[in-house]
Structures are given as C-alpha cells and as structure tokens.
Amino acid sequence: MTVPRGEILQERSKGRDVRISNIVAAKALASCIRTSLGPRGMDKLLQLPSGEVLISNDGATILSKMNVLHPAAKMLVECSQSQDIEAGDGTTSVVVLAGALLDACTGLLSKGIHPAMIASSFYRAAEACCELLTGAAMPVDMKDRSSLIHAVQTCLSSKVVSQNSDLLAPIAVDSVLKILGEDPSGATNVDLRDVRMVEQLGGTVDDTELVDGLVFDKGSTKTAGGPSQIDNAKIALIQFCLSAPKTDMDNNVVVSDYAAMDRILREERKYILNMCKKIKKTGANVVLIQKSILRDAYNELSLHFLAKMGILVVTDIERTDVEFVCRTLGCTPAPHVDSLTPEKLGSAAHVGDVVLPGSGHKVVKFVGVANSGCTSTVLLRGSNDLVLAEANRSVHDAQCVVRSLVKQRYLIAGGGAAETEASLRLRELALETTGMDSHCFKAYADALEVIPYTLAENAGLKPIEIVTELRKAHAEGTVGAGINVKKGRITDMYDENVIQPLLVTTSAIKLATETVCMILKVDDLVVVM
C-alpha cells in the first residue's frame, strides 16, 4: 500500500523490531561498563568535549558523563542515577544486572511469550528475591563500628583508592556517625550534605583526615599582619560589609570646600573603626566575613583595624556555607553590626592556620568546638586532580553505604554471595510453581548469576569454573560463600568480612527489574521531529 507524500507526519517503526532495538542498545551500554565491576574492575578514561579528562570506575559517574543518545539506553543511565540516590553504591551492578535481565528477555521473547507476562513474572521474581535476601541477611547495630567499617571497606575495594581503604573506611564511618549524634539507633535517614568535603591538592590520599571541627579551603587573611593562631576562640560570623558605605547610583556626596575632604576621610576611618570596635566589644577574636557582591566585604582599612585588635579574619565565606558553618560552630550570623551580640558568637578551643605538608598550602582549621552540631568535615588530599576527584567520589560512596545501613539495618555477604543465594533459591521456587512464572523465574535466576560471573571474569579467573563451584557451595548450605578475588577461589564472605548493606542489593534488583519491565513494555518508538 502506498501512502501519498505529505500524509506521513511521523516516522514510525513497530513492535518486535522496536523491542529488539531497545534491548540491543541497553545491552550495549551494560556491556560497556561491566568491566569496571568489582575489586579488580578496570577504569574508564573519558575525554569530555571540553578537553577535560576523567578517570573513574564509578558506574553512575561514567554513565552520566557519557552522553548516551538512544532513549532505551538513557533509561539505564537514569536507573543507575536513581540507584546512586537511593543507595549510593552498586551503580555499576544495577546496570550490569539490567543488561543480563534484558538478555534473558530476548530468549523468552523468541519463545513467543508475551512481554506483559514476562514483565509481571519478573516483578514477582524480584519481590521473591528481596524477601529471600532479607531472610538471609544479618541485622546490624549502628553502634557496631567494626561491622560498619567492614561494609565500607567492601565498597572501597573496587575504587582507585582501594589501597587506602584502611584509612578512608573509618573516616567515612565516623563522619556519618558523627552526624547521627549520640543515639544513632533512632535515625532513619542521614543528610549527607552535613558532611563537608574539603579537597586540597598535594600530599597523597594517605594524608586525608577527619577534622574534629571545621576547615576552610584557604588560609586566614593576613595582608595587614593579623594573628594566625587563636586559642579559646570566640567566633563571629558577619554578613555586613566592613567597608566604607557607598552611595546609591543616583546620589552623590558633594564636596564644596577642602575642609569637607578631610571630614570625609576622617568619617570613613571613624565609621569602619566603630564597626571594628563593636565587633571587638562582643569579645570576638575570630571574624568570618561572608562574601559580598554588592560591596567590598572588607577593605585594607578594616583588615588593618582588626589585625591591630588581634582578631583573626577569614574572608569570602560562601553564602551557601553559612548555614553549615553556623551549625558546626554554634554561632548565629549577624546581618548588621548592631545585631552582633555576645550570644551570637560561636566558640572553639583553637583556631589557626595549618600548613599542609607536601603542597605548602594553608587552610584554617577550627578544632575543639565545644558542642558542635551534627556535622563533620573531611579534609581530602591527593597528588593530582584526577585522584582527588576520584577519592571524593569514593568517600561519598562509602558514606552512602553507611547511610544505606541507617535506612535498612541489615548486612549481607558480598563477593557475589547474595546474588548466587538469591538465584539458587529462586530456581528452587521455580520448581515449585507452574505455568509462565516457572519459566520466567528460571530465566531470572540465570540472569542474577551475571554478577558473580562478571566479578570472576574481571579478576582474571575462570568464570564458568568459579560460578559452578559457587553454586555448589550455596547448594550445600554455605550462605556466605562468595568469590574471594584476592585468593582466586570460593570462601565464606562473612569470615573475610566482605559484607555490604542489604539495601544496596535489594534496591539494585528492584530498580533493574523495573527498568527492564519498562523497556519490555515499549512496542513503538515514535520520533517526533
């Protein structure tokens, strides 16, 4: 049948072809990042259009920068993003899992099973998996610091900074626990924005530290020769400007004789001096000045006065940092000099410049904050920008692991143990059910094994041998059996302390399944030009 020209508005393709093309595109994406899964995973080098270079093995980071065009592949990218938000870790595994599930779908589809049936069976399979895993998981107490550290170390083992995990894991755990405060058992969620990450180039990742207090990424302002070390600091955070008042655009100060010039100069000095004196009067000996666009937030004169009064000055505090600073130091920002009262001051045992070995940069450090709010600061070091950025992402992932444990307090064995266990039990379940479910459950169970398979492959082991051995161990009842990448054989992951939060695994399974079902249900691709 011929359609007259001009009657076709949209170009469309149909049914089976669309589904297959979607599946192929999504699978290609999954196969692209599967080499970065696991402790022996490799890195990707991304060269962005701007010429910037990024080396990472964090799935979410790679995918978000990759600029994927195909709509179905885009869904996988978003799936990895939501895993990042939900659990923060396992962003690579969720995509790899989705790829494997799609692979299973092609087989089922070719048998002529209706996509909707596959989708609903997969949903049920995912639910069954999550239930099985929750049953097999080990409850954890937030006060059990060593378990938390083990979970974080598992997460860090696949990163570039893995050899520093002995140092970074406790830092990540302590920084999150500090936010939770005295009683971590009641918390249900953590706002990771309460952890401030300060990056400083120079030194090595080994020099990273958790700061008890606050760190700014630059030194104090000393152009006028003020002090750089203050004990028993009283800290004022001011939002007003310590500079001569400016007239509005339309107004002018008119000088009509020379005596007026002297008066202006003197008044300007007096005005600034008065403000400085008022600050001094409140007892403050450290002043943090918020950045200002409208006027100079400070000038040489005010720095000079503050220096003479023995006040340490830190300038250019970002507006967005003000809240964090206030909560950490226990101070209240003062929008006007008259509203600055002694009650608004924060305090710290010591404030001072610290020269960072290696680079010679200076940072201001606030230590011994009396009753600091629930915040923490991590000072990250690294020998170059790429390492530093990757270390930041890794520590963030590690903190997400702790957050997942706050949300759902269960731990499960890593190293492919959880997936193998789920796969095995699901296969047993498939034998007990009849009809389409049985068929799909079996395919789903096979797909789950992609995680141990890929882990083994990336570690340079023989995947078939390892996966079958793993299956056998689980069938014999060793729930914790997983791939020990370092030794190259199967061991009990609980003994090796390779553990991860349950939430990471369950959320990966759920998200991957949902994405796959969505791709399955698409039978038409309409390109609107």
């Binding site: 192929v24 022996r40 080396i55």
Partner: protein, 575 residues
C-alpha cells in the same frame, strides 16, 4: 564474553569508543613517546632541548618538567605523565626526567605482559608489591644516615643534581652558592607548620629535633641580570636585592647608619603616595573659583602629610608597590631618602620578613586618625643602589630580621639565565630536602641497579604469577643506568651488566668487605664503575623514594584504563 568489537555493539553515544587492548596500546604508545622526548636529557652528559613556541619565544632547557609543561600534550594518557613530572617538580624539585622515564618503562613492560596473557590486575598488584619491597629495601639498605650533616654532603648532593644542567661545568661554584643560600634562610618553624606536621603524624622521633627548623625556598630571591660570565653570579648573604631604582636622580645612591648601633630604617608600603583622589560617588562642586585651588592644594597636602609622618617615624628608605607623585619626590629628596616605586609586592613581603618589618597597607591608627607606626619599619645596615648590567638595583645589606638572601645570576644571554635559574632551583630543592631529612643515597644509577638485583631475587620467592611482574619491574628500573650510559655514549649493555654483577656479588656475599659494593654506580666520564658514595654522587633518599612511588602510581593509573570514550561536542548533537 569478552567485549566484542566496539563498532558492532552499537553503543548509541555521540562520540568514539575504544576498548581493551587497543586503548592500552594507544595509551602506552603515547606515554612512551613522551618519555622518548625527555630521554636524551637525562644524566650529566644529557643534552638540552630547544623549544620554540608559536609566537617565536625560545626556551632552552634540560629540565624534564619544564620541557613537558611547554609541550601542550593532548593525549590524556600522556598528560598523566606530564602531571607526574609536575608533581615531582613540586614535591621534590629534582628527578623530573627520571620519574617520567621509569613510568613509561613500567608501562611498556606492563603492556608486553598483557600481550602475553597476564591480566592487568595481576600486573597492578605485582607492581604494588614490587614498589613496597623496593621502598623497604631503600630504607633498610641503601640509605646512609648522616648524623651530622656537614657542608661536604650538601655540596655533593647539590653538585649531583646540577651535574646534568647547564651549570654543571661550574658545579663547584654553584653548589657552594646553593648550599650557602639555603642555610642562610634557616628559620624556626611557625606554629602553623608544626600543627601541620603533627596533624599528619610526621613528627617521628628521628627528626623531632630537626623538625623545628624549616628552609623556605621562597625566601631565596633569585635575580637575573644580563652580562658578564656565569661565574660572576653571587650570593648576597644576609642581604636582599630588589629590582627597582631610585625614583628621582636627586636621591642619594647610598644610605648607611648614621652612627654605630643605629640601623637604617626601611618603610615598606602597599599604598599610593600619589595625589589623593576622592572615592566613587563623591563629587566636587565648587561655586567659587578660588576654592578649586584650595581643593587641589588639599589633595596634595593629604599625601604630603602622610609622607611627613613616614619620614618623622625615622624611615631612611621608602619602598612602595604603588606610585609616587613626582611632586612628592621633593620631600624625599630634601630629606635625603631613597624612595623606589612600583616594587614587586612579593619582593616587598620577603624584604619585610628579612628586615623584621611589616608591609604597611594603611596608616590609620586606633583613634581613627592617621599615624605611622615606627614598629613597621624594617632595619638593615645599609642600602645602596648598584648598577648591574643595564639596570639599577637596590641592595639592602645586613638585614636584621629572619634569614633571607638573594642570588644574583649573571649570564651571557636570557635563555642561559632562565636555564640557570631552573637548574639552581632544582639544586636548592635538593639541599633543602637533605637538610630536612638527613639521609642520602648514592646516585649515578647505583640505587636502581641495587634495587633491580634485589627485586629479581625477591621475585624468586613468590610463587604466583606476580613473580613475572616483579621481575619486569626489576628490569624496568635498569632503564635509568642504561639511559645514563647511552647518553654518555658508553657501551650500555656492558656497563649495566657489570654494574648488576657487582651489586649481585655485594648482596649475596656475607663478607664485610663486600658490603660497600651496594654503593657502586656508573662513572660516566670514564665509562667505568666506581663507589659513588665515595665519589660524592649522592641524592636525598626521600626524592628517590618519592619518585619511585609517583612513577608506579602513574603507571598503575594508566594500566587500569581499559576503555576510552571520547565525546564529541554536544553542538554536533543539535544538528
């Protein structure tokens, strides 16, 4: 299930993707070609490079970091090596060429291993354990602890570092210059430094007493002046030279203390001594023409009063970073004061430290009036304007504050001066590291040869596949003595074989007399082997350890990459 041909995977992205072996080969090739550029400049007989940029500026250098920095490398993997050289430059200051050569050799050998079917992760862990063993060996066996560091050691180390540079021929002279300069700026560590060391847990027992001192290289001022031979460069000990001249001819060229025990006072200003202008938003409107004169006069008087206050405070020399009105000159001339304008701000800060003064930014006092605090004045013995080459400089002699010194470099042409500056900077870094760490290792390929022999033996104790990797690491280290010998036009294979056999003998024998053999290195002039510790070819141990660490880390970073995605500009996407 290995990654299939990328073209057929149909990855729908706007850009190119390379995977697996292709990308590794690409990266390694790029890294090796970068290393090949700097290879010929390694060692005492290494040659220089001449770089000409697109506007025709010429740079002649032998410093690895400088060469690489000016190359504008585009390949991302090669850029990792350039960053590596920069890092070595910042952290150690010397050995930038060798670190790049070692890293590229590790990559080349790593790539060969991959081709032979060894998984990259095995190579990475093998390199890591080799590095660990190497660092432990250097610390245990190679390091010579110098309990009392004397000038000889320092001069030897400085000479070793500058032997490969343009000033190598005059190394006796320049080594002494460098050592004297660094020693002259010795100062107590400030509270901030101590806090930094403590926070990083670096105040170990061994350097507890030494950690209290620091040698800030920024306090050493290097001035370059055309003309005369390089041997006429000199160090102004306890003195400071500023590249500035008197503002007016009427000023004296020499100021010295009027009587014994009374120093010459220097005022350092960071403010304008020009006619005062009212700020923005202040408008001058007069009705009476006579007022104009008054206002003009007042504008002058405000500055005049400021100058009066500075002079009254006792200043005999006034230096400012900003301008001075010609009209104001006469006050200085009348008082017989040297005044210089438009000085470099950083220089003034250093001078302030050197003379114990402060840079004054504003003259307001705590009552809201104007006054000049006499405490801000620095003091020295005398100040003289000296004519060097084409220009004049102000020499400040006998600074009374913390250490500071100035090296005045002389040379035939600009390129030579720049290269001398870079070479001297490297040597200064080396001397500083020596003074701070108190340990040294023999140079001239001795440390690398010893490590290579040791790691070879160590590899035999390992049963897994890492054995191969560690052996390759051991061989890779030999690239340094090999390149040194090649650059010196000696028979590299024979020399290195000799060197290895000597080290093997030293390590395997239990004889006391053979213990010294581990210090054997190359003598590149004679083409023989000698004890480099006795010959005075030494380097700070810390720089050797750091360069091994950095080189290995960089090689690992590149080897870990198995996928390269180059994204096109998103503008192409909109079409």
């Amino acid at each position: 299930m290995s990654a299939p041909n990328p073209a057929s995977t149909g990855l729908f992205i706007n850009g190119q993707r390379e995977t697996g072996q292709d990308v590794r080969i690409g990266n390694v090739t790029a890294a090796i070609s970068v290393a090949n550029i700097v290879k010929s400049s390694l060692g005492p007989v290494g040659l220089d490079k001449m770089l000409v940029d697109d506007i025709g500026d010429v740079l002649i250098t032998n410093d690895g970091a400088t060469i690489l920095k000016s190359l504008e490398v585009e390949h991302p993997a090669a850029r990792v090596l350039v960053d590596l050289a920069n890092l070595q430059d910042q952290e150690v200051g010397d050995g930038t060429t060798s670190v790049v050569i070692i890293a590229s050799e590790l990559l080349r050998r790593g790539n060969d291993l991959v081709k032979n079917g060894i998984h990259p992760t095995t190579i990475i862990s093998g390199y890591r354990s080799a590095l660990k063993a190497a660092v432990a060996y250097i610390k245990k066996e190679m390091v010579v602890n110098v309990s009392e560091l004397n000038d000889d050691h320092l001069i030897q180390a400085a000479k070793t570092s500058m032997s490969s540079k343009i000033i190598g021929k005059e190394s006796d002279f320049f080594a002494k210059l460098a050592v004297d300069a660094v020693k002259s700026v010795k100062m107590n560590a400030t509270a901030a430094d101590v806090a930094g060391y403590e926070a990083m847990g670096q105040s170990s027992a061994s350097n507890d007493s030494k950690a209290r001192f620091k040698y800030p290289l920024s306090a050493i001022h290097i001035l370059k002046a055309h003309g005369k031979s390089s041997l006429e460069s000199h160090l102004i000990d306890g003195g400071f030279a500023i590249n500035a001249m008197r503002a007016a001819q009427g000023m004296p060229t020499f100021v010295e203390s009027p009587s014994a025990g009374e120093p010459v006072k220097i005022a350092m200003l960071d403010m304008n001594l020009q006619r005062h202008r009212m700020g923005m938003g202040v408008q001058v409107i007069v009705k009476d023409p006579a007022e104009i004169e008054n206002i003009k006069k007042r504008e002058m008087d405000i500055t005049k009063e400021r100058i009066r206050r500075i002079i009254d405070a006792g200043a005999r020399v006034v230096l400012t970073t900003k301008g001075v009105d010609d009209l104001c000159m006469k006050y200085f001339v009348e008082a017989g004061i040297i005044c210089a304008r438009r000085c470099n701000r950083e220089d003034l800060k250093r001078l302030a430290k050197a003379t114990g003064g402060r840079v004054v930014t504003t003259m307001a006092d705590m009552e809201g009036n104007e006054a000049f605090d006499a405490e801000c004045l620095g003091s020295c013995d005398s100040v003289r304007e000296v004519r060097i080459g084409d220009g004049e400089m102000l020499y400040v002699y006998g600074c009374k504050g913390h250490g500071a010194s100035t090296i005045v470099l002389r040379g035939a042409n600009e390129y030579m001066l720049d290269e001398m500056d870079r070479a001297l900077h490297d040597s200064l870094c080396v001397v500083k590291r020596m003074l701070e760490s108190n340990t040294l290792v023999p140079g001239g390929g001795a440390a690398e040869a010893a490590l290579s022999v040791y790691l070879d033996d160590y590899a035999h104790t390992i049963e897994s596949r890492e054995q191969l990797v560690i052996q390759e690491y051991a061989d890779a280290l030999l690239v340094i003595p090999k390149t040194l010998a090649v650059n010196a036009a000696k028979d590299a294979s024979e020399l290195v074989a000799k060197l290895r056999s000597v080290h093997a003998k030293g390590q395997h024998s239990s004889d006391e007399a053979d213990a010294e053999l581990k210090f054997m290195g190359l003598d590149l002039i004679e083409g023989t082997i000698r004890n480099n510790l006795d010959a005075g070819v030494v380097e700070p141990a810390i720089s050797k350890i750091k360069s091994l660490r950095f080189a290995t880390e960089a090689a690992i970073t590149i080897l870990r990459i198995d996928d390269r995605i180059t994204l096109n500009d998103s503008k192409g996407l909109a079409r």
